[in-house]
Symmetry: C2
Subunit: 99 residues, 2 copies
């Protein structure tokens, strides 16, 4: 499998609308939609998403304009943060492996 | 094909290192590596990447800490900006289609 940048960007958009289209405004994530996204997309590693207070905390962090829902730009901030964290983890692991 | 969020995030990391590993520090993109990435990943739509001054301009924009190379965090800023622009384009198109 060869990774493609444009495919990865398209997938971010597709994943967002897969969840945002289920209730309320179809272009934004409600708390329930965000919970489903976290649980389904991060799977086992996101068991905490079963805890309503954790989802509410993430929602508050992401909902930059405080309108009670998460739009695509706010969602991309989450993706960026998690991707950078994953990359930092990989770099630390590489460094430790060498020492 | 079903889009996956974690796969998309992993692909961003894989694509970055595919190009950053070719010359100099293997964890950062030189100007030549950035040019290759833009040309190969954005293909026909990025013909401007053949123009050195365009690549230099993008490099200057991304190179936040002014060290002459683009690291993963700086790269993710580009990806985020292009993805949000693509999403805005899609929303405008949807809106126009309905009127």
């Amino acid at each position: 499998m060869s990774a493609s940048l444009t495919q990865a960007m398209a997938d971010l958009i597709v994943v967002f609308y897969k969840y945002s289209g289920n209730e309320g405004d179809k272009y934004t994530l409600t708390k329930w939609e965000l919970k489903n996204l976290l649980q389904n997309e991060f799977g086992e590693s996101m068991n905490a998403a079963h805890d309503t207070s954790v989802v509410e905390g993430i929602m508050r962090e992401l909902d930059d304009n405080k309108d009670g829902v998460v739009d695509f730009k706010e969602f991309v901030v989450l993706v960026t943060a998690v991707t950078i964290a994953a990359n930092d983890f990989f770099l630390d692991w590489e460094k430790q492996r060498k020492t």
